[in-house]
């Protein structure tokens, strides 16, 4: 089994199975550019620096990739049917503990930087699911967003929203 070492922004090393990294468009490109797939190249001696991802976040990303090893990689996500994207139970459990904190948001940003489409889609959907069926005040409370609306502004929006049945 070929291992490739990823180095986080805080200098932590993560040896990762080569096969797993196919899920990341960014790392795949780096592997090709660095000729790490060549038999003559000593991949173990050539770690891949990821200066935009902290160690604890990278650890989570790797954990996610291990679970999704072999999953087909989506091509773009603009055509997703909003209603039909379902976050599988495993992923829901994976995201939930850190959902309302910065860790989940950092994971989302890392998924984008590393170009892991499935992780990015599910991560965004998991965040949008936290809004599902919630009122403005509930969302504010859960996400710690301050209420800046004047009563008049809030009333005006409420009135516009009444168009919805």
């Amino acid at each position: 089994m070929v291992l490739i070492t990823l180095v986080s922004s805080d200098e932590q090393n993560f040896p990762v199975e080569r096969e797993l990294l196919k899920q990341s468009g960014t790392i795949e490109t780096l592997i090709v550019n660095m000729n790490l797939d060549d038999e003559d190249t000593d991949a173990a001696a050539m770690p891949i620096p990821l200066p935009n991802v902290k160690g604890d976040v990278l650890e989570k990303v790797i954990q996610w990739m291990e679970h999704h090893k072999g999953d087909p990689v989506k091509e773009g996500d603009n055509e997703d049917n909003n209603a039909e994207i379902v976050v599988p139970q495993w992923d829901d459990d994976f995201f939930k503990p850190a959902m309302y904190g910065s860790k989940h948001l950092e994971l989302t940003v890392a998924a984008s930087y590393l170009d892991i489409k499935n992780l990015l889609t599910l991560s965004c959907k998991a965040i949008s699911n936290t809004f599902k069926g919630k009122t403005g005040p509930q969302i504010r409370e859960e996400w710690g967003v301050p209420n800046e609306f004047t009563p008049e502004e809030e009333e005006a929006i409420r009135k516009e929203n009444e168009w919805s049945e």
Binding site: N82, L105, T108, C124, P137, I139, S164
Partner: protein, 327 residues
């Protein structure tokens, strides 16, 4: 990092994963999210419906985006119309729609409303229908506002022949006599024009005046087309019998029989002497149904005479005859 500190690109991505109802609720969170809802693309939704309801001369517009339903918009109340359009512009900057079903009233104000409502909508398929000439004119005008989508037009009447060539290319064109109940003869040339212009073509109730040689031409055109297509039309009584005999098939033909480039894919009697024969040539399937080898006309429920029909599919076609049209 908090939610609002996420880079704009992620916030916009998030906005593409939400339902319309959740977008509405999110507006009541804070000013930043209210603006984000208004300024972001809503993503892809499979279905949009725009219809109208008329009662006592008052017209209400009905709008559904997927499973989000909105209160009816009174077309005669300009303030209501403007308020709805304003709300829509605070709900998303753009949206992708898979299938747009347009059944709105023939009224210029309804068209104006539709144009305002659908500003920045990307529509993949527009489905509409018309029951009479003026209705059709309006629907064609509506369609011209959405030049990038595929069109699906269902007509409950047969328009004047001169108007048919003016249609934009349809992905699916269906013509029947659901509205007028009259049955008319369509010249072969008209069928050929329609076939050339539209990918899928369904002509029901009316019948096409085709000779057996014309049928051969139809088959040739379809079987040489690289696209996936389906064409269905009724023909005059006995056309199919002549056509099948010209190809070398008869009452005794069986499944698997080969004549020239044709192979019998299916051969069955569906009751009495009404037959179904499927021929195959290249990637094309030609289904002849509801015809009689004896050249008899059939009367079906309500005394209606039945035409033979042909359905051709490339990678399927079909053809049908009715006895109804007898002379």
């Amino acid at each position: 990092m908090d939610l609002l500190a996420l880079p704009d690109v992620f916030l916009r991505m998030l906005m593409r994963k939400m339902t319309i109802k959740d977008r509405l609720r999110l507006r009541l969170t804070c000013r930043a999210l209210e603006r984000l809802v208004a300024d972001s693309h809503a993503g892809f939704f499979p279905y949009l419906f725009l219809g109208s309801h008329e009662m006592d001369g008052w017209i209400d517009l009905i709008i559904h985006i997927d499973n989000a339903r909105f209160k009816r918009v009174e077309l005669d109340r300009e303030d209501k119309v403007e308020a709805f359009i304003h709300m829509r512009h605070r709900l998303f900057s753009g949206i992708s729609i898979g299938y747009f079903e347009m059944k709105n009233h023939n009224d210029n104000r309804a068209l104006d409303f539709a144009i305002k409502l659908l500003d920045n909508f990307e529509i993949k398929r527009l489905c509409t229908g018309a029951s009479y000439e003026e209705d059709l004119e309006n629907k064609l005008q509506h369609m011209s506002h959405f030049p990038l989508c595929k069109y699906q037009l269902t007509l409950g009447f047969l328009p004047e022949s001169a108007k048919l060539p003016a249609f934009p290319a349809m992905d699916v064109l269906s013509i029947s006599s659901n509205y007028t109940r009259e049955i008319r003869a369509i010249p072969a040339q008209t069928l050929f024009r329609l076939m050339n212009a539209h990918r899928q073509l369904y002509i029901r109730d009316h019948y096409v005046c085709l000779s057996a040689d014309d049928v051969k031409s139809v088959v040739k055109i379809l079987s040489h087309d690289k696209r996936e297509r389906e064409i269905r039309f009724d023909v005059e009584h006995s056309t199919i019998t002549k056509c099948l005999r010209n190809y070398g098939f008869s009452e005794s033909s069986v499944t698997g029989e080969v004549r020239g480039s044709f192979e019998v894919g299916k051969c069955s009697k569906s009751g009495g002497d009404m037959n179904v024969v499927e021929l195959r040539i290249f990637d094309c399937s030609i289904l002849f149904s509801e015809f009689s080898w004896m050249g008899k006309r059939r009367v079906v429920g309500g005394g209606r005479m039945l035409n033979e029909n042909i359905t051709l599919r490339n990678k399927a076609i079909a053809l049908k005859t009715t006895d109804s049209i007898g002379n």
